[in-house]
């Protein structure tokens, strides 16, 4: 039973606050109040931050355990994510109509993790597109993202056995300036009328302009970003939207890479822990017991 370990951890996670509380309170009562002299002594661990250390440690262990299991060949289930299944359908439709697919990897540089994840998704999209022999247009906003996008797409075409179909002219560096880039992408949508628009990455104020233009050309639109403030504009104008963590799950979903899937699983278990803690905390609070809540106080 592979889920036994997390349950043990959960028990530890919930019981530790009590034990630590008893211990530290006991210790404080036993020891005299800290004097100036005591404060002058060097300490190697800040006991006030024990709660954070524990929560982080438990989470680290969960993530590492599942990454290791995944590395050993264990496979984990990932729920259906409609927006990702729709990518293949959208590419299929573009092929039928003889129109290109547009992939915008956001406007942030490579130092943003979303841009990196967007490249992983782009690799998978490139594989699909190559199979259907549909053109894939990738406008890029940052000069340093260009070589990354080129390599990713080329590799995708290679993997699906159609290296000859790769067209370097379709990776287009438009401008570093946000609105100049937006105007450039708008131009592509209006002139070349892609049948599928994929907006996956870190987007800012340009999101509503892109989604609006795409909506007016009648393309199937799939968007995904972890920039929460831009989600409303994608939700109302796109057919599918990947919300926050769903965007990060996309890479695991599409690539099935062990360490990504394992991380997802570890993070799900941590959520269970937190939910249990939240329920316990709320119930205790309702009955006037505040010790559990106080243990979580950040000091």
């Amino acid at each position: 039973m592979q889920s036994a370990k997390p349950i043990v951890l959960l028990a530890v996670f919930l019981l530790l606050p009590a034990c630590v509380h008893v211990l530290t309170v006991g210790a404080q009562e036993a020891a005299p109040a800290p004097t100036a002299q005591a404060e002058g002594q060097v300490r190697w661990f800040d006991l006030n931050r024990l709660n954070i250390a524990l929560v982080v440690a438990v989470f680290f262990i969960l993530v590492l355990v599942f990454i290791r299991q995944a590395g050993k060949g264990a496979s984990f289930f990932i729920r259906k994510i409609a927006g990702l299944d729709a990518i293949e359908e959208a590419i299929g439709r573009a092929t039928e109509m003889g129109k290109p697919v547009l992939y915008v990897p956001g406007i942030d540089d490579v130092n943003n993790i979303q841009t990196i994840y967007s490249m992983v998704i782009l690799g998978n999209v490139a594989k699909l597109v190559a199979r259907y022999e549909t053109p894939l247009i990738v406008p890029v906003c940052r000069a340093f993202v260009v070589p990354l996008a080129e390599e990713t797409v080329k590799q995708g075409y290679l993997d699906s056995g159609h290296p000859e179909a790769y067209n370097p002219n379709n990776i287009r560096y438009l401008s570093d300036e946000q609105f100049a880039f937006t105007a450039g992408v708008d131009g592509i949508m209006l002139r070349e009328k892609p049948a599928a628009n994929l907006f996956l990455g870190s987007f800012f104020a340009e999101s509503l302009v892109l989604a609006e233009t795409g909506f007016s050309t009648g393309a199937i639109q799939i968007a995904g970003t972890a920039n929460i403030h831009q989600l409303p504009f994608f939700v109302v104008a796109c057919d599918y939207t990947l919300i926050g963590e769903e965007f990060f799950a996309a890479t695991a979903y599409l690539s099935k890479e062990a360490k990504l899937v394992g991380t997802l699983k570890g993070s799900d278990w941590m959520k269970i822990f937190l939910i249990v803690a939240l329920v316990v905390g709320a119930v205790l609070e309702t009955f006037g017991v505040t010790a559990f809540t106080r243990w979580f106080t950040v000091q």
């Binding site: 007016s216 929460i228 403030h229 950040v298 000091q299």
Partner: protein, 269 residues
Amino acid sequence: MEKIDRRYIFLAILLLVLVPLLVPIGLPIRVSREVQSGYDAVAEIPDGSTAYFAADYDPATMPELHPMALAALDQLFSKNCKVIGACLWPAGPPLLEDALRRIGEERYGKKYGVDFVNLGYKPGNEVAMVSVGRSIRATFPTDFYGTPVESLEVMRGAASLTDMAILVNISAGYPGTKEWVQQVQSRYHVTMVAGCTAVSTPEYYPYFQSGQLSGLIGGMAGAAEYEKLVGKLGTATRGMDAQSLGHLAIIAFIVLGNVLYFATKKKAP
């Protein structure tokens, strides 16, 4: 509907915003809980204490954030507080300078270097925040003008953020309120009041509810409320009528767009 030229929509918006600026209606402003608590938090610090003023914004968001920066500085200087201003946004220092001079020097007759200072800009986002929490002097060896901070009177007794009575953050995004809460407020437990763009306000409500933020001033509307509390009406208050009409226009467009969409869709099959 795609056939309607966007420019008619643009023109409608321009008129709706322009007219109330020319002919003000003067709708009454009501103060929300988030802004009131922010004002109260500043009011509660001892008169004459020192405040850290983190001006993390740039010209793009000036209409929203500059009015609240002015209002907050007005409240601080009216309490004879000393203000240490600094920026983590490169385009911030000239705006901070403008705000400090306009309120501190011109309105309250305070002196640069004695009652307030502009430490200028540092890159590094979270790194710079943690570093300021540890030591202001190590992070900002000189002020905006290149004067060593040891020689400034206002910096005496202000070694790190823990010596501050309050942290006021005016934030346009990253790095800003979220990172100050994560890296500094949680670490050093300074009282913190945040003024931010309306766009990022909803994301910060959890921090306000949890008490990590003692006040949350959101957007131009929040700035107008703050101006009302401070008693110095400025551009935010002036913009509120236009703001109201703009919002009504957006709602009308959403309703109209959907009515037309569903009407033509029903006809089609």
